[in-house]
C-alpha cells in the first residue's frame, strides 16, 4: 500500500510520536514547576497513550496488510501486541507517580522516553522488513538503556544502564550481521520477499548454503533472544532489572518482551508462510523449530533454577521473567493458529500479573527502601491487602488455578500438545515440571509474607501510593480471568493469525 493511504493505519504511532515530542518540547520551552510538573506531565503522557489506544481500537481494517511498501505489516496479532505495549506503558506511568527511584527534576524526560519506548514497541510488533525490525529494535533499546540508568540515587542504576547498553549493543550487532547475511543469500530485505526467495532458492540445496543460512538464523535469534531475555542471551536481565528504577523494570519485563515475541513469530511466519499450517514440513530444511524448542527448554529451566537462589525480589522476578520467556517460546514452537493465540493469551496474562508483582515490590520499596526478601516477613499482618494481592500474583505466576496464570499455561500447553508428536508433548512435560520448580521459589515469598513474622519493629507499609493502589487493582483481573476467561479465549481466537 502506498505511503499516503497507509497513514490512517499508523495513527496510534503518530499519536505516540506527537506526545513524546510534545513532552520534550514543553519541558525545554516552558520548564514548569510544582503541580504542573508533578501531575501535568504524567497526565499528558497518559492522554497520549490513551489516544493511541483509542486509535488502535478504531483502526480501519484493511484487505492489504502491508503498509509503507512492506515496512510494516498489520495483522490481529500485531494489533494485540501494540495494545499490550501501550497498556504496559500506561501502567508504568501510573507506577512512576511519586516513586522515589526517579529524580524529581528529570520526571519529564522519563515520561517522554517512556512514550518513545511505546512507539518503538508498536513499530517492532508490526515490523515486516529487516530494516524496520532493526530501526524499531534500536528505538526500543536506546530508550531502554537510558531509562534503566535513570535512578541517580546510587551507582546501581547507571551500572545497570551500562551493562544493558553493552550487552544490547553486542546483541544488535550480531543480529545485524545475521540480517546482512540473509540479505546477501536471498537478495531481499522484506520478510515476505525473503520467504518467497527461501521457498524457491537453490541456496538450501547445497551444504554450504544451508550452513550459511543456519548461521544467519542463529545470529538473528541472538538479537531477538536478547530482547525477550532467553537463555543464553539473558545475562543482562537480572542486573538490569535490579538496578533499573522499579516502575521501569515492571515495563521492561513485559513490553519489550511482548514486542520481541511478536517479531520472533512474524520472522518465522514470514520466512516460512506454511508455518501456520504445517510447521514440521515447512522448516524441514532448517532446524528452526528445534532451535526454538531447545531455547525454550533451556530458558525456562535455567530461569527457574537460578531464581531459587535469589534473595532480592527484583532479581527473583528477573529470573522468573526469563523462565516465562521460556514458557512463551513453547507457543512459538507450537505454531499453527493455536501457538500465536496462546502466546497472545499468555502475554495478556503476564502483563497483568507481572506488572502487578512489580507494583507490590515498588510499594514495599517505598516504605522499606529494600527489595530484600527479609522485608517481606510478616507482610501479611502489616499490609494484608498488599500481601494478598502479591499472593494472587505469585500463585498466578506459578500457574495455579483459579488464577489467570493457569489459563495462560493451559493455552500454551494445549497449543503444544494439539500439535501432536512425541517431542511436543515432551516439551510440554518439561514445561509443567518447570512450573513445579517455580512453585518452590514463589512459595518462599508466600512463606515470608504469611508464615514468618518480622524481626524487630519494621516500618509500616503505606498503602497510600499509586503502586499499592495499582497492585490491588491488578489483582482483581488476575483472579477474575482465572475464574471466567472468556475474554482471554476471545484474545486467543482474535490474535491467532499472522500474515
Amino acid at each position: 500500500m502506498p505511503t499516503l493511504e497507509s497513514l490512517p493505519h499508523v495513527l496510534p504511532e503518530v499519536a505516540l510520536a506527537v506526545t513524546a515530542a510534545a513532552l520534550f518540547v514543553l519541558e525545554a520551552l516552558w520548564q514548569p514547576r510544582g503541580r504542573a510538573r508533578r501531575v501535568g506531565f504524567p497526565l499528558l503522557a497518559l492522554g497520549g497513550l490513551l489516544a493511541a489506544l483509542l486509535f488502535l481500537v478504531a483502526s480501519p481494517s484493511s484487505a492489504e496488510p502491508r503498509f509503507f511498501g512492506g515496512l510494516l505489516t498489520q495483522d490481529p496479532f500485531s494489533t494485540f501486541v501494540r495494545g499490550v505495549a501501550i497498556v504496559a506503558t500506561a501502567l508504568a506511568v501510573g507506577l512512576a507517580l511519586g516513586s522515589p527511584s526517579l529524580p524529581s527534576n528529570r520526571r519529564v524526560e522519563y515520561h517522554g522516553l517512556l512514550v518513545l519506548l511505546a512507539l518503538g514497541m508498536c513499530l517492532l510488533s508490526s515490523a515486516g522488513h529487516l530494516l524496520m525490525i532493526y530501526v524499531a529494535i534500536e528505538i526500543v533499546s536506546l530508550t531502554s538503556y537510558l531509562l534503566a540508568g535513570f535512578d541517580d540515587r546510587g551507582g546501581r542504576s547507571a551500572e545497570a544502564g551500562l551493562k544493558y547498553v553493552l550487552f544490547g549493543g553486542v546483541a544488535s550487532g550480531v543480529m545485524l550481521f545475521g540480517f546482512s547475511l540473509l540479505f546477501g543469500l536471498f537478495g531481499d530485505l522484506s520478510l515476505s520477499g525473503l520467504g518467497q526467495a527461501l521457498a524457491h532458492s537453490t541456496t538450501l540445496s547445497t551444504g554450504a548454503g544451508r550452513w550459511a543460512t543456519l548461521l544467519a538464523l542463529v545470529f538473528v535469534l541472538a538479537g531477538l533472544g536478547f530482547k525477550i531475555a532467553a537463555v543464553p542471551f539473558h545475562m543482562w536481565c537480572p542486573d538490569v532489572y535490579e538496578g533499573a528504577p522499579t516502575p521501569f523494570t515492571a515495563l521492561l519485563s513485559v513490553g519489550p518482551k511482548a514486542a520481541g515475541f511478536a517479531v520472533l513469530l512474524r520472522f518465522g511466519t514470514g520466512l516460512w508462510p506454511e508455518l501456520a499450517t504445517d510447521a514440521a514440513a515447512a522448516t524441514s530444511a532448517l532446524p528452526w523449530l528445534l532451535l526454538l524448542g531447545v531455547m525454550s527448554t533451556v530458558t525456562m529451566t535455567v530461569g527457574n533454577l537460578a531464581a531459587i537462589w535469589q534473595d532480592n525480589l527484583k532479581r527473583l522476578l528477573a529470573y522468573s521473567s526469563i523462565a516465562h520467556a521460556g514458557y512463551m517460546l513453547m507457543g512459538v514452537v507450537a505454531g499453527g493458529r493455536e501457538g500465536p493465540g496462546a502466546v497472545a493469551v499468555y502475554l495478556a496474562v503476564y502483563l497483568i500479573m507481572n506488572i502487578g508483582a512489580f507494583a507490590v515490590v515498588s510499594a514495599v520499596d517505598r516504605s522499606a527502601h529494600s527489595e530484600d526478601i527479609g522485608v517481606y516477613h510478616g507482610l501479611g499482618r502489616r499490609a494484608p491487602l498488599l500481601a494478598l494481592a502479591m499472593a494472587v500474583f505469585l500463585l498466578s505466576l506459578t500457574g495455579l488455578p483459579p488464577t489467570a496464570g493457569f489459563v495462560g499455561k493451559l493455552y500454551l500447553f494445549a497449543s503444544l500438545i494439539h500439535h501432536g508428536g512425541f517431542w511436543y508433548v515432551l516439551l510440554a512435560v518439561v514445561g509443567v515440571l518447570n512450573s513445579v520448580v517455580s512453585l518452590y521459589f514463589y512459595a518462599r515469598v508466600l512463606r515470608a509474607m504469611f508464615l514468618e513474622s518480622a524481626a524487630g519493629e519494621p516500618a509500616p507499609v503505606s498503602l497510600a501510593n499509586s503502586a499499592a493502589a495499582l497492585a490491588v487493582v491488578l489483582a482483581v483481573p488476575t483472579l477474575a480471568l482465572g475464574i471466567f476467561w472468556q475474554p482471554l479465549a476471545a484474545i486467543a481466537n482474535f490474535s491467532g493469525s499472522l500474515f
Binding site: 546510587g154 551500562l162 547498553v165 540479505f183 530485505l189
Partner: protein, 103 residues
C-alpha cells in the same frame, strides 16, 4: 593483480566481525567494548553494501547501510553517556570494578 570482487568484501567484513567479537569478549574497559560493538555494526554495514553492489538490490542495501551508520552513532552516544555517568561516580571505566550488581 586480481580483480576486487564480492569475496574480498565479505572476507574483510568477516574479519571485522571476528575482531569485534574478540574485542567485546576480552576487553574489560567499557570504552573498548563500545569500540568492539562499532566494529560489529560496521562489519554488517560492509556486508550489506557489498551485497547491494554485487547482488543488484542497490537501493535497499544502500538505505540499510545509511541507517546502520546513523543508529551506530546513536548507540555510541547513549553508551558514552552512561560510561560518563559511571566515570563520574567511580573514577573508572573498568568493568571489573563495577560490581555493585552481582552480575
Amino acid at each position: 593483480m586480481a580483480q576486487v570482487g564480492l569475496q574480498h568484501f565479505l572476507v574483510v567484513a568477516a574479519l571485522l566481525f571476528a575482531l569485534g567479537i574478540v574485542c567485546v569478549v576480552t576487553r574489560r574497559n567499557a570504552v573498548a567494548v563500545l569500540i568492539g560493538i562499532e566494529l560489529l555494526l560496521n562489519a554488517a554495514g560492509i556486508n550489506v553494501v557489498a551485497f547491494a553492489r554485487y547482488g543488484g538490490n542497490l537501493l535497499a542495501g544502500s538505505a540499510f547501510a545509511l541507517f546502520i551508520i546513523a543508529l551506530a552513532a546513536a548507540e555510541a552516544v547513549v553508551g558514552l553517556a552512561l560510561i560518563f555517568a559511571i566515570h563520574r561516580r567511580l573514577r573508572s571505566v573498568d568493568l571489573e570494578q563495577t560490581e555493585t550488581l552481582k552480575g
